[in-house]
């Protein structure tokens, strides 16, 4: 055999080996885990428990054989509640971890910082955070974007519906005058302004206060003004740090309106253990008592406690759990990770969630893929949060009027 033909033969063998090895890598990649990239604020209870609930769901699915014969891998990056960290997290998940789907989220402000990065990669995104309609405006036309959390205006609409339903169902509850105490920042002010429009049939008076989160913590002036107004419903819009002090100071001056409502983004984990919590009404997507009327919720509750030896204390826990199952079931329906097929499969979502409702994706004001639309009206009774409305998930009758300690 000539030298030339020997060299040719070697080249052919080398090429064949390369093809086989390359094919092997491709096969390995195909058979490797399906990667879900989550961005959450891990120092906050929403992110801490949301991420645990996600991992719980991933472990359950993997124990049952995974999806499409592959295991799920959950990669979580902490956004530290900062927009620039959230954006960096998206970049890292996309380029270093090469995730298949983006999930997670909490803060609207952080998410606005993440959106440019998400738009760069255009991977299927199923987001459980961000209530601000500013985010909705920024994701118009993105067919790969699925939003689970109700937008702010949807929440407001559900409160209007809820209070009307409660007054109709329980004629003793009558609301004509409402006093709104709102933290003086963007969150409180915009909530108050939106509520004035939504509840225009009430006589509304509002006053701002400085939240403890921003160096305040003395609410007595606002509470005295509310007391002078003598409302049927008093509602404070602030943060978790305000919750117990505002109740203490209301008790101090003897202020006990018939309906005492709190509307922070989250409550202190042990708020319900205080006697001052009894009768306080809250808005939320979930309460532990839902497990009494929902087998899915009961399973989630039991499984979470068994795995982590702590109770879920924020609705971001069942929301995180929902996030994983929605994505996993959609991948299973699609039979592939192909983007178009996955989008179609997500659009067909019909998932009975531990929050009580069945999750489907329908159009909102501006986007095509909106999940949950309602909040619930809850009330602390004897240390536990009960659901008052929607009535299909109600776990207790309203305790009315609020009497204070």
């Amino acid at each position: 055999m000539s030298l030339k033909s020997k060299a040719m033969g070697l080249r052919v063998w080398a090429l064949a080996i390369l093809v086989v090895v390359g094919a092997g890598f491709l096969v390995a990649a195909e058979e490797g885990p399906i990667k879900l990239g989550a961005v959450l604020p891990l120092a906050d209870i929403t992110g801490a428990q949301g991420s645990k609930a996600m991992q719980l769901a991933v472990d359950e699915i993997n124990a049952a054989g995974g999806v499409l014969g592959r295991q799920l891998e959950l990669i979580i990056v902490d956004d530290e509640s900062k927009a620039e960290k959230g954006a960096a997290a998206i970049d890292k998940l996309a380029t270093v971890d090469n995730v298949d789907v983006f999930i997670g989220g909490m803060s609207s402000g952080v998410h606005l910082g993440e959106l440019p990065a998400l738009k760069k990669y255009e991977r299927v995104t199923v987001w459980i955070g961000a209530a601000s309609s500013l985010v909705e405006q920024a994701v118009v036309g993105l067919d790969w974007y699925f939003h689970i959390h109700p937008w702010d205006y949807l929440q407001g609409a559900s409160y209007v519906e809820g209070w009307a339903a409660l007054q109709a169902e329980y004629p003793l509850i009558e609301i004509q005058k409402a006093f709104w105490a709102y933290e003086e920042g963007a969150f409180g002010t915009s909530s108050y302004q939106g509520s004035l429009v939504a509840f225009s049939n009430w006589e509304n008076v509002g006053e701002s206060f400085k939240s403890a989160l921003l160096g305040g913590g003395d609410y007595r002036a606002v509470l005295r003004h509310a007391q002078e107004f003598d409302p049927d419903l008093f509602i404070w819009v602030g943060y978790a740090a305000d919750a117990l002090p505002i109740m203490e100071q209301a008790a101090e001056i003897g202020f006990a309106p018939p309906l005492f409502v709190g509307s922070p983004p989250g409550w202190p984990a042990d708020f319900g253990t205080s006697p001052l919590a009894d009768g306080v009404i809250a808005y939320g997507m979930w309460a532990p008592s839902i497990k009494d009327v929902s087998p899915v919720s009961q399973h989630f509750w039991d499984a979470y406690i068994a795995k982590y030896n702590e109770q879920p204390a924020t609705y971001f826990a069942p929301l995180g759990y929902t996030n994983i199952y929605v994505v996993a079931e959609a991948i299973a329906r699609a039979g592939t990770l192909d983007k178009a097929a996955l989008i179609t499969a997500l659009e067909a979502t019909n998932y009975a969630s531990p929050l009580g409702e069945t999750l489907t994706f329908t159009p909102s004001n501006l986007i095509d893929h909106q999940g949950f639309r309602n909040q619930k009206i809850l009330q602390w009774q004897n240390g536990a949060q009960q659901v008052l409305w929607p009535f299909e998930y109600a776990t207790a009758l309203p305790a009315y009027p609020f009497t204070g300690p």
Binding site: A212, A241, L244, G254, P268
Partner: protein, 311 residues
């Protein structure tokens, strides 16, 4: 000579205002006076330890609020694990934070005493960041607060019902002022501290151990603010950034009163607390309380500057 003859005009005006304003408020809006004194007491008692460090050691401790925050966490966890009420937890807090203050001084402050003031500010600012991030990592940003039924105790005078517990801050400010006055004026260590604060070189020449004095004062100040964190926890939630607004307010009070003027810090605290409560008593003007706080501060500083120029 009568009192009125010995006083300068501005001092007379201040005295009349100090007597007249409370009387007017008691008749017009009594809860403003009550809640103003309570609020002002909180500002004053938190500011006093910072004033002590600034007056003697000559350093602005920008981590002042963070030490208070850590004291509040200390008291919270003492309640969870040892069942201690926060007010009782003040006692171990004094010991723990005296030790923390001593360690902090030896490892950091001592090495920056001869550095430019900017470096000193950056050092304590860095300490503040470390303190806040440490708390965030250990306990997350979730606010914590024990339920204490006595904090919403109240009494009624006619139609006026007001809280009584918060007078603890008013009382604490007065008691701490008296104790610090006695310490600084009547004890050997206190007089040494005053001497060091006025002239460290001169104090060294007469045989005072300046470094040991600094160590003592810094440790005492941190011990006090750590214990005050426990008291703070009784009426406020604690979270990693709970202390930082009080660093600013304390510094402003000290700037208003003048370095070394501990009674001025207390009176200034009461005055600002009443001013804030008065502004907040008008519905819709609560947001102006901070403006009033800093406007009064600026006015007092400018007034002092004018008097120095004309003197």
């Amino acid at each position: 000579m009568t009192l009125f003859r010995t006083l300068r005009r501005w001092q007379l005006l201040l005295l009349l205002a100090s007597l007249g304003v409370p009387i007017v408020l008691m008749l017009w809006k009594p809860y403003v006076l009550i809640e103003g004194l309570q609020r002002g007491g909180l500002y004053a008692v938190i500011a006093l330890p910072m004033a002590l460090i600034l007056g003697v050691v000559g350093i602005i401790n920008l981590a002042h609020g963070e030490f208070m925050m850590l004291g509040a966490y200390f008291a919270y966890w003492m309640g969870v694990y040892a069942g201690l009420d926060p007010l009782v937890a003040m006692i171990p807090a004094v010991v723990a934070f005296a030790l923390l203050g001593a360690i902090t001084y030896v490892l950091t402050i001592r090495r920056a005493l001869k550095a430019p003031e900017l470096n000193q500010l950056l050092l304590t600012f860095g300490m503040a960041m470390v303190g806040a991030e440490f708390a965030n990592l250990m306990w997350t940003s979730q606010p914590l607060k024990p339920h204490l039924s006595y904090v919403y105790s109240s009494m009624a005078l006619g139609e006026l019902r007001f809280g009584t517990y918060a007078f603890i801050y008013t009382a604490a400010a007065i008691v701490l002022l008296v104790l610090l006055h006695l310490f600084l004026r009547k004890t050997r260590l206190g007089r040494a501290a005053l001497a060091v604060g006025q002239n460290p070189r001169g104090a060294r020449l007469v045989g005072i151990d300046v470094n040991r004095t600094y160590l003592l004062i810094f440790s005492v100040s941190i011990a006090l603010v750590g214990a005050l964190g426990a008291m703070f926890l009784t009426r406020h939630s604690v979270f990693p950034s709970a202390g930082s607004p009080f660093t600013m307010k304390s510094f402003c009070l000290i700037a208003m009163a003048g370095i070394g003027n501990l009674p001025g810090v207390v009176w200034g605290g009461f005055g600002l607390g009443i001013a804030e409560a008065l502004v907040s008593s008008f519905r819709g003007y609560g947001g102006w309380a901070d403006v009033v706080f800093f406007a009064v501060l600026v006015a007092v500083i400018m007034g002092k500057s004018y008097r120095r120029q004309t003197a």
